[in-house]
């Protein structure tokens, strides 16, 4: 789809004023330039304890400041998520802080003689414009006329504003963990959580299906994996790609879209051979007989035929799971939107774990707790349009994809404005054409972000937020095995004319006549919250984190357990699913096969990038400057594709990628798939380092299959081929 097609709201590329100001800033940022002396501690150096925001994991960080510049970021020792260590993205976080392409001033869209451009504005003018639009749209169209899309921890204050002012708040829910959380909730009565409630460090036999544990580089999860490896854990990676995890254990190169068939096969073997935990299942689950009826046909032979995994390996893994149970685990994974039957996929994994009896056992599924700092309550806007529920029957939240569809269709009511915080919808949402079309329906878009991006180019007002290294946010009271509360605090003052989110939202609230939503300043608010647990802001600023001892993770043998499911037990057969007309036992439905000459497009993560959010970070780009398209060597030979050449990817509907991508010929993928890392291929020239580097997988994520259970967006149903022509 061509960007210029949209007349109402053109994508604004760059203004000369913008260029000039950023060029000055670039020459002023010294952190990348040469220094003749090695770093050694100087007087005046300080270390600020804070939490990271380069991804959503939120590790504790020590921010090292010298001469009022952040020069190094390391892992905070006492923070349970970092344990003194840090991932490459977090360590390169100052690449965002000193990104010369940052949004530096509020910008307002102008149209003069039909030409659209962004004009530098004062905060007063920009905020008044946003507040006026919010008020006007609210008056004209009632509550729910505006929607906010949010991603990241900084959104907490915006959510408060939305909840109090009649704005729908849409999470990025069905893009990632949604199907997994709902699938496990239907089975166990609670979700897996983030960080995941899994005891990987003590696991003896770990099966991972499609999840890039290791390459996704969630600091604590990878630390736990490493501990398990050190203790001799056996690993099994089920993946069409030879992942780094696969290299550390057994690799099952599964045919894509057959995960449910494989898990059903394993369930079949465990029940048939009576190798499941019979006592645990009798005491704590319902539906074992019906489960058996539901998987009776999933013989090892059929499983092998469907998945492409040799029958001996199917059987061997099932028996090994039983041998190592209860210290064996099917990892619930993280991103769970694959093929449109993802709740059932998650359910199948939840059921298999239940059969192993690993619930609250070393190496199994565990539950975690919050530290429990009471919130300060603010009045909520009560209106069904604002607190509405998804059209999908078992969704715990309304997904952003659903809201984009809602915007487009104008049903059940018309949406007229978007407030977009920290999420580049053009990149993050499947089916870009849908997003572009929804945008044309809108009367108003405001973006709050640190960097320009594809979505900010379509906004009417852009409010530049400062980075996480320059601001406070709310307390991080996270669910974890060692409950903790941690602080984000500024290491350096906001650069340019940027502001912390809390200030932006406070001013917006006041302009809308709401003086009761925020304290006078963030420090007073944080201190007030901490006083509720008998602590102070001063103490937390100094320590970075308060940690409670690990909660008891494991159950006693034969301990009676209670689950928040309709039956009070683990539901091997889900009563709620049946109630809504879905299969109580997950069934395998064959998915589309590759069209002739096309390859299924798979994508995933690289440890040095967090999706599209870091692909302009010069420090991280140095580690990985562009993505490549992985093609099986034999498959490439058949069509004459050469290693290292640049090609365009063409979707089966004819859509061609905006940019070309380097071919990586490898033995590490099946010959029916191609693979790339998501997050590259920015088309906004204001992102000067990441502009047109590689291809953005979202451009080719055109066919989506929506999970009828909870609305997860199945995005791995796209088939591409190659084109050399520009």
């Amino acid at each position: 789809m061509k960007l210029g097609k949209f007349k109402r709201r053109e994508f604004i590329k760059i203004s000369s004023a913008f260029l000039a100001s950023s060029a000055v800033a670039h020459s002023g940022s010294q952190f990348l330039s040469a220094e003749s002396a090695e770093a050694s501690v100087k007087s005046g150096d300080r270390v600020v304890k804070s939490i990271c925001e380069i991804c959503f994991w939120r590790c504790g960080i020590d921010v090292h400041v010298r001469d009022e510049k952040v020069y190094k970021i390391t892992g905070q020792k006492d923070h349970p998520l970092s344990r003194g260590r840090l991932c490459p993205r977090g360590a390169g976080g100052h690449g965002l802080l000193y990104d010369p392409d940052r949004l530096k001033h509020p910008l307002i869209r102008e149209i003069v003689n039909g030409r659209q451009f962004f004009r530098k504005a004062s905060w007063e003018e920009a905020m008044t414009l946003v507040a006026d639009n919010v008020k006007q749209l609210g008056q004209d169209y009632g509550p729910g006329a505006l929607v906010s899309f949010t991603h990241g921890f900084g959104a907490s204050f915006l959510k408060r504003l939305c909840n109090s002012c009649g704005i729908v708040s849409a999470p990025s829910y069905a893009q990632c963990r949604g199907a997994r959380e709902d699938g496990f909730k239907l089975t166990y009565g609670h979700s897996v959580g983030s960080p995941e409630g899994v005891d990987v460090a003590n696991c003896k036999y770990l099966v991972v299906i499609g999840h890039h544990l290791g390459e996704n580089m969630h600091n604590t999860a990878v630390q736990d994996l490493s501990l398990a490896i050190k203790k001799g854990a056996k690993l099994v990676a089920v993946d069409p790609r030879f992942s780094v995890l696969a290299s550390k254990g057994k690799w099952l190169p599964i045919k894509p879209a057959t995960d449910i068939a494989l898990v059903r096969g394993w369930i079949h073997i465990l029940i048939k051979e009576k190798k499941y935990n019979i006592d645990f299942v009798a005491q704590n689950t319902v539906g074992i007989d019906e489960l058996w009826d539901g998987v009776k046909d999933a013989t090892p032979e059929l499983t092998a035929k469907l998945t492409g995994i040799p029958v001996e390996q199917v059987v061997e893994v099932a028996r090994d799971l039983a041998r190592y149970a209860p210290n064996a685990l099917i990892h619930p994974g993280r991103r769970a939107n694959w093929y449109g039957d993802d709740t059932q996929r998650a359910r199948s994994m939840a059921i298999l774990n239940a059969l192993l009896g690993n619930y609250k056992m070393p190496g199994g599924l565990i539950t975690q707790k919050k530290y429990g700092v009471p919130p300060i309550n603010f009045p909520k806007f009560k209106h069904p349009r604002v607190q509405y529920s998804s059209k999908y029957p078992l969704a715990s939240k309304v997904s952003s994809f659903e809201i984009i569809q809602h915007t487009l269709e104008g049903k059940p009511w018309d949406i007229h404005g978007w407030i977009v915080y920290g999420t580049n919808l053009i990149h993050t949402s499947a089916n870009q054409a849908l997003t572009y079309e929804a945008i044309t329906k809108l009367k108003f878009i405001a973006s709050i972000d640190v960097l320009p991006s594809e979505i900010t180019g379509y906004s009417d007002v852009i409010l530049p937020e400062c980075t996480y290294l320059e601001r406070y946010d709310d307390l991080d009271d996270r669910t974890y095995r060692e409950p903790y509360v941690a602080i984000r605090q500024p290491a350096v003052p906001p650069m340019y004319d940027s502001k912390p989110g809390i200030e932006i939202f406070k001013i917006l609230a006041e302009k809308m006549g709401r003086f009761d939503l925020f304290e006078d300043d963030i420090e007073t608010y944080l201190d007030k919250r901490l006083k509720k647990i008998g602590k102070s802001l001063e103490e937390l600023k100094e320590k970075g984190v308060f940690v409670k001892p690990e909660t008891p993770l494991y159950r006693q043998p034969n301990q009676k357990l209670k689950f928040k499911t309709p039956s009070g037990k683990i539901e091997l057969v889900s009563s709620k699913m049946k109630e809504h007309g879905f299969d109580g036992v997950p069934q395998y439905t064959p998915h589309r096969e590759n069209p002739d000459g096309y390859y299924r497009l798979l994508f995933g993560r690289a440890p040095m990038h967090s999706f599209g959010r870091t692909t302009n970070n010069r420090i991280l780009l140095e580690m990985m400057p562009e993505n490549t398209i992985w093609v099986n060597e034999q498959a490439a030979e058949r069509i004459g594709l050469k290693d290292g050449e640049y090609v365009y990817l063409v979707h089966e509907n004819g859509t061609r990628s905006n940019n070309n991508i380097k071919v990586k010929l490898t033995q590490r993928v099946r010959d029916d798939v191609v693979y790339m890392v998501h997050g590259f291929g920015h088309t906004d020239p204001r992102l000067r380092a990441g502009y047109m580097k590689g291809v953005n997988s979202s451009e080719l994520t055109i066919d989506t299959v929506i999970d009828p259970v909870m609305g997860a967006v199945g995005i791995q149903h796209n088939f591409v081929t190659f084109s050399r022509g520009a």
Binding site: E38, Y71, K72, R85, A91, H94, V222, V244, E622
Partner: protein
Amino acid sequence: MANQDKKYAMIIDTRNCVGCTACVIACKSENSVPMGFCRDWVDQIVKGHYPRLTLVNRSDRCQHCEDAPCVTNCPTGASFYPGDGTVIVDRSKCTGCKACLAACPYDARYVHPSGFVDKCSFCRHRLLTGKTTTACTSICPTNALTLVDLNSSDGLADRLMDGREVVQDKTHAGTHPKLFWLL
């Protein structure tokens, strides 16, 4: 000079390493390594054919050789052994002549834009303040990197290597390198 009783070396457990490059970024921040250069790096070595493959991530850097060709071939004495097992470049003596770059079998050195030759120092500035870790070993999320003192009686090096296949790079060059990879 300090730490004269030490003999620093590094043990790298490839079984744990996921190839994330946190070691590279931590080093670059710690040592102000300019854009486009690095003191350490990660090699990903893939062997075999589908579906029987192996992959090893190998975090690599200067080997701090006991018989270092860079020291032997340095005309100004800028590359030297300070006596703690490390090989160091004295920037004030370095003319940037690149004799060491040609001599080093491990391609561990680069010419800094300021004119001197630079490479991994095992973060000697940290060791001199009593720290026992380098920037890379301390950041590594998988705890795959360990700085050890081969002269120490703490047994750490032996414990890490016990029962493991240990490989070294280009031992035939007679350099007595001090990086040990565990497979």
